[in-house]
């Protein structure tokens, strides 16, 4: 299976233009061939994920046909936003933040050490935007109008959401450009590959700027919920908290995703890279640790700044402490000592805790600490349909990721003709 794939890549440099497409039908044949699954289909992962995905698609159709009400979602007038926006979109985008952080490190600071993982990360980021942010289509009630803010019906330039919507769109384009060299290499389009390579720096600069703004913009969406979000979480600096936390949220995702892909696709990566990969993880763990250290102090400072200290000794206060100590301070320490001892297991464990913490944090803003004075019995909890659809979206993303990694030079080295000049 692996040989077959490498074959394709190896053949490329011999020919003038890669898997040259003289006629359109050649191209279609090539795509057809690539679309076919490879290897063993009946893996345990496939067997578990496929039914969930299919069930999810059926439920998506039902949601589009019947609207958002019970029993599809548990959303109600008190809790307009639930799991789909809180987890799929807001948390998903934070997890996708690894792409802009690594782009900054690799293309702007030129730290070559991390170059090896940049493609997988950017691809992951792009797919996350495509699927998770795409999940917003399910959540918005009048989805057939979704293009309205794009076509000027009407440009609500006064709205944070307007900014976020446009940034999602533009950032997906920027990430596509950043990743496109891999697609060009896959199709063997040399000239295009060269042009796209030149465009990378522009896309990176633009992409990082956009990321800064919409990572924080997602936080700014909640600014006008001042009277509804618990004072321990509400501060006028929510955007900055969202931005800072997206740094270690994204990198934790990179660590987590990377440790899985390196196992699953290990045949694509050679041994020297595996050694090098541990260095990368240690480096990432250090960055996470430092970012979380700063984030922890920001959290504490803002509680003091917002005159909210008196709330600490209350049920919501304990919940806040649980989040800040258990999911910021503890993983911060684990990352640091994991990096110090080169203990990969500890680093991966810290990454998982951090990710859980980010999920909690984002859900706090969307429904856990939102309308916190509402009695527990009337609170919103995601319905099983919301959970299944969320799971099926994530699994679809994983399938798409796997398909691309198996075909394009994401983890494996790019074809020789493409290597001469990167950036």
């Amino acid at each position: 299976m692996a040989g077959e794939k490498l074959n394709l890549v190896d053949v490329v440099p011999e020919k003038q233009e890669g898997p040259s497409f003289k006629r359109i039908s050649d191209f279609i044949d090539f795509i057809k061939k690539e679309l076919k699954p490879r290897g063993n289909i009946a893996t345990p992962f496939n067997l578990i994920s496929l039914p969930i995905m299919l069930l999810g698609y059926v439920l998506i159709v039902l949601r589009l046909a019947y609207g958002l009400g019970q029993p599809i979602t548990n959303l109600n007038q008190q809790y307009p936003w639930g799991l789909w926006i809180g987890f799929d979109v807001v948390t998903g985008v934070a997890f996708a933040g690894g792409a802009y952080v690594l782009c900054f490190i690799v293309y702007i600071l030129r730290v070559e050490k991390y170059h090896a993982i940049i493609r997988a990360t950017v691809l992951n980021g792009f797919l996350a935007y495509l699927f998770y942010a795409g999940a917003i289509v399910l959540d918005i009630g009048r989805w057939w109008n979704i293009y309205n803010p794009m076509i000027g019906n009407d440009f609500g330039v006064n709205a944070v959401m307007f900014l976020v919507a446009w940034h999602f769109f533009l950032y997906m384009l920027a990430e596509l450009v950043e990743f496109s060299p891999a697609i060009a290499e896959w199709l063997g389009l040399r000239r295009l590959r060269k042009i796209l390579g030149i465009m990378t720096l522009g896309a990176v600069v633009f992409g990082i700027t956009l990321s800064t703004l919409h990572q924080s913009g997602l936080g700014a969406l909640m600014m006008m919920a001042k009277s509804k979000i618990h004072p321990l979480w509400y501060t006028e600096f929510i955007p900055i908290l969202y931005f800072v936390s997206s740094i270690f949220a994204g990198l934790s995702m990179v660590i987590f995703e990377g440790s899985i892909t390196h196992k699953v696709f290990s045949y694509q990566v050679d041994a020297s890279h595996h050694e090098h990969y541990n260095d990368i993880l240690v480096g990432l763990a250090r960055i996470c640790s430092v970012a979380m250290f700063g984030y922890f102090f920001l959290k504490v400072l803002l509680v003091v700044h917002e005159h909210a200290v008196q709330y600490i000794n209350s049920p919501m206060g304990y919940w806040w402490l649980f989040e800040v100590i258990g999911f910021i301070l503890v993983p911060c320490f684990l990352f640091a000592s994991g990096a110090q001892q080169r203990n990969m297991a500890m680093i991966k464990f810290a990454a998982i805790i951090t990710m859980v913490g980010i999920i909690l944090n984002r859900l706090n803003y969307t429904f856990l600490a939102y309308n916190w004075y509402v009695p527990l019995s009337e609170k919103y909890w995601p319905s099983w349909i919301e959970l299944i659809i969320t799971a099926s979206i994530i699994l679809t993303e994983v399938w798409a990721f796997r398909w691309m990694v198996n075909r394009m030079p994401v983890l494996k080295a790019p074809p020789a003709w493409a290597v001469e000049k990167e950036h």
Partner: protein, 41 residues
């Protein structure tokens, strides 16, 4: 009504904030040393 016009010191938190910052400076020395320490290699 009355509550709208009572005096409210919006800078009341500034003192504690600066104390936390000083604490931050102290902790950051230890933290930075810890992060950059590497045992076996």
């Amino acid at each position: 009504m009355d509550e709208l016009f009572t005096y409210y010191d919006m800078f009341a938190s500034k003192g504690p904030e600066y104390l936390i910052i000083i604490g931050f400076f102290i902790v950051i020395v230890a933290f930075w040393t810890f992060v950059n320490m590497s045992t076996e290699r």
